[in-house]
């Protein structure tokens, strides 16, 4: 069986959970086995929905000890569930949670693991799966040579596919100890979709000259329902918060649309964003290296072009 851990922070299933179950179902089909989902913690809303995306069963370990995240407890709970259900392959999301679990679970389950998988596995006698390496500059194929397998799936690697029907949720009787940690969470990015999950991203660089000029960037992002990002020097100088820094040493993203405004396109910047499906570059320098990585380019002054783009989007909706 393929067991998919569906993340539900605060009791709400994440978008990544629907991607993971869609992926898990495809892996299960490839291996000719069933696909089930598991949620952790009390009061997970609408977990039965996972059935629509491919789970033939949905399980829950409803211990309050799992309401806060603790990689040790989560690893034990998922490994115990996999043992009890006879699952040999576990699928996670490559999120802050999944990244804390993937390697742990691999050790605990004596499994081979691939973290941040971007493609579906193939199984022609040996089980192989692809992932981005060198910060998006290449794709590597990994072979997992163990019976047990753990894979964490990169965000936006595939679209959730709603093809089945809702299923019931079964409680799983697994003992969960008390956590040695106390955790609290605070929100940061306001109403925007967090960068790693964002499908549309509007990003700006040092060419904007100062933090006071980000009003038009936020406005453009607001109209599109996009998330804002920035280049490294912009975050380093404190014009924008650190969590907006994308690139090789920032957040690596793969949105459907990346609009880069007044960013030169240094190799370290490109490394974190070049898996974006469509790239639009706005830069006043026609020689800016970013144009080589772009699908659409506008050679012009951002202070003139961006307000025009905002108007064009406004009048097109």
């Amino acid at each position: 069986m393929v067991l998919v851990y569906a993340e539900s922070p605060g009791g709400q299933l994440k978008k990544a959970a629907f991607e993971a179950i869609t992926y898990g179902k495809k892996v299960a089909d490839l291996l000719g086995v069933d696909c089930a989902a598991i949620t952790l913690g009390t009061n997970v809303a609408d977990a039965g929905q996972l059935g629509k995306y491919g789970a033939s069963k949905v399980y829950n370990i409803g211990s309050a000890n799992l309401d806060g995240f603790d990689s040790q407890l989560y690893t034990k709970a998922i490994a115990d569930a996999a043992g009890q259900l006879g699952a040999t392959t576990v699928i996670l999301s490559h999120t802050s949670t999944g990244k804390s679990l993937c390697g742990r679970l691999a050790v605990r389950m004596d499994a081979g693991s691939v973290s941040g998988a971007s493609g579906l596995p193939t199984n022609d006698g040996s089980f192989k799966v692809t992932k981005g390496v060198f910060s998006g500059k290449a794709v590597a194929t990994y072979e997992i040579n163990t019976e047990n397998k753990v894979i964490s799936l990169m965000g936006n690697a595939l679209k959730p596919e709603d093809t089945g029907a809702e299923v019931g949720v079964d409680a799983l009787g697994i003992e969960v100890g008390a956590s040695a940690l106390t955790t609290a969470q605070s929100k940061q990015s306001g109403e925007m979709v967090p960068l790693p999950e964002a499908e549309l991203v509007v990003s700006a660089g040092r060419g904007l000259k100062g933090p006071e000029n980000w009003g038009m960037i936020e406005e453009l992002a607001g109209i599109l329902g996009a998330t804002t990002a920035c280049s490294r020097p912009v975050a380093d100088t404190g014009w924008r918060p650190h969590h907006e820094h994308v690139g090789q040493t920032g957040v690596a993203i793969r949105p459907n649309l990346y609009i880069a405004i007044a960013i030169s396109g240094a190799i370290q910047h490109l490394a974190g964003v070049n898996s974006s499906k469509v790239i639009v570059v706005i830069n006043k320098d026609p020689e800016a290296p970013f144009f080589k990585a772009a699908d659409y380019g506008v050679v012009g002054d951002a202070f003139e072009v961006v307000p025009r783009l905002i108007e064009a989007f406004k009048s097109s909706t």
Partner: protein, 246 residues
Amino acid sequence: MKLLVCISKTPDTTSKIAFTNGNSEFDTTGIQYIMNPYDEWYALVRAIELKEAAGGSVTVINVGPATNDQTIRKALAIGADDAIRVNAEPKSSMFVAKQIAEQAKAGGYDMVFLGKETIDYNGSEIGAMVAEYLDQPYISYATKLEATGNQATVERDIEGGIETVNLSTPFVLSAAKGLAEQRIPNLRGIMMAIRKPMNVVEPVGANDPAVTVSFELPPAKTGVKLVDPENMGELVRLLKEEAKII
């Protein structure tokens, strides 16, 4: 405080990535290496800061061949006290994690630090693996760490927010931007590093349950389509009708 920092060696960020031997191996021709930035800038520096404030020691560990000694010396020059190199050419994350865990167990450290991921294989797995081998808590993507005695408070990046975790030592932590500021080794540090102890140990047996078998470069972009800066309506149209992205 007894601290262990895992450091790895990665190709410089400006490296041109290519493959050889039928695309089965990374082509190292002409590649300059650096210490993985997350290990160097954040994990190592924060560990050194804690030692400077509260006393103790910082040991760095690397799993790799003798050609990694230069990278290890740099860590010593930045301020680590001593180093362990496990003499092996690693093929998988699991192998590396097993070696680090063995040394960590033997040393009995209060905290094990590593960078949030390496910039070459972007695995982000080794910290979690080491923590599981040690049966200790693991806090990934730490952007802030305060520690007094055996109590620590860590902030970590989560999607769209920050999580604050209180816990006691020992634990394993992966470092992200914000945890510390990059330090450039000074001449005195470089001179002192030459005499700091570097212990070379042989690896313990470990499996390679997941290995790379081939590589591919992403398809090159076909060329940029330039849009008249006066006509942003056209760009909107292209994004809607041609790219079908909005």
